[in-house]
Subunit: 470 residues, 2 copies
């Protein structure tokens, strides 16, 4: 518990605790242009690991990566009316290029439906070209009035998938497949964050979508964070960009489309879903550093022993680093690693070395253990596995304990002070939704009573999950 | 040789051949905003493989990835006078954001020295914070008047390394280490492209650098392509951004800096260094698809056998795909794979299957071979290894055969019609360089007579490598 006092306690001021973690764990800084951020190496390492895990799952779902331009002609955005209305207030516009005023200003992409669909129109001719499954990793820009690092920034990093299918059914199935096999699986099995899935209400839908599916996580302050979305776009973009295919009888048909994305906002979700008053806690499967071998002080052979042990840990497939900065006090360094949420700290001091052993300290949920050096990799491995499981279990029971059944708007309002409310959508309806909005409470998603994904937001018996959100 | 006639021959019109390859191998398209490009899945897969190989080497050299904002305040660029002079004509400027005119316009990064060094100034305090070794993978924008896909585009993808060191010697050593251990090693051992290394002359130096090192490849038309650069920045940015550290005696000193980068331009280099009249040729270590198993036609069991064989190839660590699009003629598909430069094509038809064998067709340098199915993975493996070696050997002897010794400007001019000229820098000098510039011939680099990297561009006895370039 060396971190005590370094951070503002969560219970005292959660937003300030979050800022403290960003600074002290060296995750990110504000950029010089309002709303932008600098992602520091440790914060970026978290994002890189997220990218690798999500990318692998996207490729397993059959999509291929590509890259489309940052700059979109203003006229492209104007083609889809809901879409342009949704994004216009947030656009960054380049009006000067190469030292001259541009004849047509260009928009910095807020999302890439328009530019990608302009190319889908060229590439798709026949039913044999379908489905077309494209993903891109990119930065996007949405001018942000109330920025908060990782959660809402003017520029953020994300992946955006864009697909075209022959039928509405296929498109919906694919959007739901991404939601389950890529996003839900990643969030639960790697991030150890349980998420609620469902459809957005019409009020919360992506501009241009006919249905928006989402995954909502609960942060440690009881607020919701939208962790990812997967949209059915219907045929809106297809008709605006003239994306048609000839079916097996030679008829021209419009394609059915999807788009879906997760972003660097997940780093914020990770911090707020698992962090405690000692700092970040990174689930082992995600952790860029799963264990740090700390030389307690610079005595005979200690530093060498640390490097040998780290080599053995790496050979056992454990992402490990050595901390041999013995000119800095041990306590200060221990605090740093706790702040960074490294799952297991291994300590070697002169006395440990004499006895051919090391001390293993889990970041949470256990006492310091002394283990023979030769047994360290196996023990660390089992500690990491146990922690991964424990983190999901704890986050799940905590989430469950903060979902309250409600039947009236005022019960929802009460529940939303500490967590989520669950209310039949038939009871709440768009009117109740509008009332809640005045209190900054939103319907996070509509799901079936058993928590599963409906086939559309029009199914009867849906339940609305309501809460405050980031 | 199924590809004959699909592409304009190189000897007829090399630029048109290049365009044809981009289109027919589905590598990239022009974007809607002048100078931008759409990187299609196969082109992007080449870039992804380059990224993975370069990133691994950068990390091995001790640098960590981070991410800095796309938008830079205009005032930041103005701080370093050479730097801003060099980049001003190429800037894209955002003047509207969130629906309003911006009080201070922001520049879309053309490179990130200024914004990164503003943070180095915050992060570096003590000699213990040095060296600081940062890399970022990002898109950058330089308004381009004569765009050509992959080679010169308004937006391109790259990595940019930025480092700070305690001494000039350390900075130079690190810039040279990146040049050799990251870039040169990658280009020769993975891309199979031999490169000449050296220093840029003062005329060709990066704006803001005190020395620019570079790697120059020769394309199949005898022109040079700058494949990467590594700069010593001296203390210019350090003094403008006030980046100082306290040394062990407590004195404040300015840091010494480097920056270095390679970009998506390497995809263009790959195409032009190895392509032939049948299309692209991708070196096996880079190839996203090392072998394609083609079902000749849809007869009993053929498609299944192709998938089983591809599984065996993948299990043997060979990146493999199946082409079972038997509704398309075999010849057309064979041409496609040749265009894409897949190193080895494996064909299975009904007769092959009967005899439990497959035909192996190398993209270049060999005849079709018939091999028992069980022996295919081992044979493909050895073919890939042989091809990797052969490609570097051939490219090297071809490069060597096109470097001509010269002692006068007119000999350089003559040599540059088909390749590079090599002339003592003491003979040529800045005056000769200026004369050559009128013919669009430039000094690509200054190197020692034995081809090695000098310690600076001021060493005596340096040789100038001259040529036309992209």
């Amino acid at each position: 518990m060396a971190g005590k006092g370094v951070l503002t306690p969560q219970s005292e001021d959660f937003p300030r605790w979050y800022q403290d973690v960003l600074n002290k764990a060296e995750l990110a800084d504000n950029g010089p242009v309002r709303g932008t951020m600098v992602i520091r190496p440790y914060g970026y390492a978290l994002w890189e690991r997220m990218q690798a895990e999500v990318d692998r799952r996207i490729k397993a779902a059959g999509a291929e990566n590509a890259y489309f331009p940052l700059f979109i002609p203003e006229s492209y955005l104007n083609r889809e009316s809901d879409h342009v209305e949704g994004f216009s207030p947030e656009l960054a516009v380049v009006t000067r290029g190469g030292g001259r005023e541009l004849a047509e200003p260009v928009v910095v992409r807020p999302t890439s439906e328009t530019i990608i669909n302009a190319y889908f129109s060229k590439w798709i001719q026949s039913h044999r070209d379908l489905p077309l499954l494209i993903n891109q990793w990119a930065n996007v820009v949405r001018w942000e009035m109330r920025p908060r690092i990782f959660l809402r920034t003017t520029e953020f990093l994300w992946q955006e998938g864009h697909t075209a299918h022959a039928t509405r059914h296929e498109a919906r199935e694919y959007a739901a497949r991404i939601l389950h096999e890529v996003y839900l699986d990643f969030m639960e099995s790697v991030l150890a964050i349980p998420v609620l899935i469902g459809y957005k209400t019409e009020a919360e839908r992506f501009p241009g979508a006919i249905n928006s599916m989402c995954l909502e996580g609960m942060m440690r302050d009881g607020k919701a964070l939208q962790m990812g979305t997967s949209h059915e776009l219907g045929q809106g973009f297809a008709s605006m960009f003239d994306i048609t295919y000839s079916d097996s009888e030679g008829n021209r048909e419009y394609v059915w489309q999807t788009s879906w994305g997760v972003s660097s906002r997940m780093v914020g979700g990770l911090i707020m879903a698992h962090g405690d008053d000692d700092g970040l806690l990174v689930p082992p499967r995600l952790a860029p550093i799963q264990t740090v071998v700390v030389a307690v002080r610079d005595a005979d052979g200690v530093v060498d022993a640390c490097h040998r042990l780290a080599d053995a840990l790496v050979a056992a497939g454990i992402r490990s680093v050595v901390d041999d900065r013995t000119e800095t006090g041990f306590g200060r360094r221990a605090t740093d690693w706790e702040l960074k949420g490294v799952p297991v700290r291994v300590e070697i001091g002169p006395r440990d070395l004499e006895q051919d052993q090391a001390a293993l300290v889990p970041r949470v949920g256990g006492e310091k253990q002394t283990v023979a050096l030769s047994g360290v990799p196996a023990r660390v491995s089992s500690m990491l596995e146990a922690l991964q499981e424990r983190m999901l279990t704890e986050a799940t029971s905590w989430l469950d304990s903060r979902i309250f059944e409600a039947t009236t708007v005022s019960e929802v309002q009460h529940a939303a002070t500490t967590g989520f409310a669950r209310i039949p959508w038939a009871e709440l309806g768009p009117e109740g939704e509008a009332t809640l909005a005045k209190d900054a409470i939103t319907v996070r998603c509509l799901q079936r009573p058993d928590g599963s994904l409906p086939n559309s937001s029009e199914e009867p018996d849906l339940v609305a999950i309501c809460g405050r959100s980031y």
